[in-house]
Amino acid sequence: MGWFKRLKDGIQTATRNKKEAPEGLWYKCEKCKQTSTRKELKENFHKCPKCNYHVRIGSAEYFEIIFDGQYEVLFDDLIAMDALDFSDLKPYSQRLIEAKTKTDLNDAMAVGVGKVHRKPLVIAAMDFQFIGGSMGTVVGEKISRAIDHCLQHRIPLLIISRSGGARMMESAYSLMQMAKTSAKLSLMAKAGIPYISLMTDPTTGGVTASFAMLGDLNIAEPEALIGFAGPRVIKETIKRDLPDGFQTSEFLLEHGFLDFIVDRKDLKERLGDLLGFFHLS
């Protein structure tokens, strides 16, 4: 006979009532599983100080890293609409509300205009947090307007991709954003204004198969997953294992689809150097 008698079996706390460990002080690396402080992480350009893993950051962090201090956010009033009345296990309208609450963002892309080493640049950066960084109409429209802004003021464009692809809940509308963004980018080329595409982890599907691959310069962060089809789908199709390093930035560089890979700590410097080569009147 034990000293204590168990009155209830098993763990009774519902998931939603569980107490989370306090966020904000420590960061445990997803890759090497080592711990560092948030402060160290931020000072290291949101890369793991131990293994250099590039943490999946969002638009705000990139603006912070790249721009010389001041910048202005453009087109932030655009929000998605559930035009198809789409519902799978959850209605799309509800997914949108949840994503907004969770991320404090309006959609999966933010556009900012500012300066990099005193040269003007428009940055359109994706937020993976918002429904997997999926491209719906708002993402397409923000890119389209960012391009208009670049054309009007003759400012180079940087798009930072981090996306699972097109947003299924907007069906053909999201598919057409591929055509829309690519068609608009052709105007940049015609006007002789440089467009740099930075691919980060992950960049797949309709995003890769449109604006992400269309940079005058295509660059990527190290070890990012970049591809058209996802690795799981490819594996199921060809019925064999995929080689190590398949669809990484390094793989794409080797196969000729990237100009170079850039460590996040050098990103601003490299962009500044690049922009210095182009003289836009």
Partner: protein
Amino acid sequence: MVFLDFEKPLETLYEQLKKIEQVGSEGDIDVTEMLKELEGRIKNKRKEIYSNLTGWQKVQLSRHPERPYTLFYIKEMCKKFIELHGDRYFQDDKAIVGGIGNIDGQTVVIIGHQKGVNTKMRQYRNFGMANPEGYRKALRLMKLAERFNFPIITLIDTPGAFPGLEAEERGQAEAIARNLFEMAQLRVPIVCAVIGEGASGGAIGIGLGDRVFMLENTWYSVISPESCSSILWRSWDNKEQAAEALKLTADHMLSFGLIDDIIKEPLGGAHTAPEEMAKTLKKHLKKAIAELQEMDPDQRIMARIDKYANMGVYDTIPKDTEPEGRKK
């Protein structure tokens, strides 16, 4: 004849028809009246079934094994046609065909996905799933068309771009993206028609044009209903539901302003009267090309880009309730 599951009532009627015909051929009984009556019933039943197809049923029709494919339409529409091969970089893709042809005196370049007509050919054509070289061949032929001022026709019928290992190595995404980028600026008219399946990037990779049509029983979507079901429902069993949710039919696409027109199919689908279907398709393509040739190339390009730039729906947060932005 192949009957789809929702066509079962028709199959029963056809079986009856066959039996009566057999009795008739044996000679003793006059069956003309009975045959007439039955044929009438078949017609009515067909009308009944086809006036109210669900999204999923249209997906099934678009994949009907007897459905006409690109090369059939080319053969029907062109007095002369010469198929051209290869992307000049790697190899010739069998899932996308293309060449130069003549439609009633007008030289055109026609490009389209090609599916196989039997098991062996289906494999040969990779089920209409193109590799990067297919998209690059398409672009090469489009550039050829531009150089010699031939209008471009593309026929879309694919379950998607091929998701293979080598396809990734050779840049499937880049090939599709490049086509979109280049097609936006081509100086000749581009007319596209979805003749079967319009699945995702694989479809739009040859699908950016001044006019985009869909045959009545085809679909166009960002993802196939099966894959959508497997991702969003985490099961392959919700494909019917996914097909409805994706709103992928020609009617939907037209009402969303994402395509320019619907081309009627013969009652029962394109495969029931393929020659008639080819005639209708040709009429639409010719008319569109004639209209587009009236335009100045620069105007046409701007109109094309504007058309795509206006696609999509979004809302805006009213200015006064806008939360403090991230302006700093």
